[in-house]
Symmetry: C2
Subunit: 85 residues, 2 copies
């Protein structure tokens, strides 16, 4: 069993209103040194696979087909081996 | 300038309906080897600070006070130095 961590972030050219709202709220709380806020998703998958390469292939395929929007988002996959099966 | 990456995840005891929905959708697409899906947030902050320690303190404070819900979520902070100021 492997754990895949897929980080999905908005492309730099895409506006992030949720991040802007968080930045504004931080400013109201006195966090003046925070210059930019961008909010993305982190998706943790438990994958039944024989090898880390196979788990990575499955995770990338899942991100391509469902979990990320290729027009607006980039994604990155990291595979960890599960100690407990 | 530092970049802080705050990863906010639901505590293991908290149900994740969004993750369950994604897992179900992956099953419909034939991803039978995906056993569990948990969805969290990744928040990237650009922080004006003199040292990495100060940037980390600000990022943790922002997560505590606004960006994470301490009852339902855990968070983790990683600081990177910005090459371009």
């Amino acid at each position: 069993m492997f754990k895949a961590e897929i980080t999905v972030t908005l492309r730099p050219s895409i506006l992030d209103p949720q991040g802007k709202a968080a930045q504004h709220a931080l400013g109201e709380l006195g966090f003046d040194s925070v210059r930019q806020v961008r909010i993305g998703k982190v998706i943790a998958l438990d994958i039944e696979a024989d090898t880390a390469d196979e788990a990575e292939r499955i995770a990338k395929d899942a991100a391509d087909k469902l979990l990320a929007n290729p027009v607006m988002e980039d994604f990155d996959v990291v595979i960890h081996e599960h100690t407990s099966a």
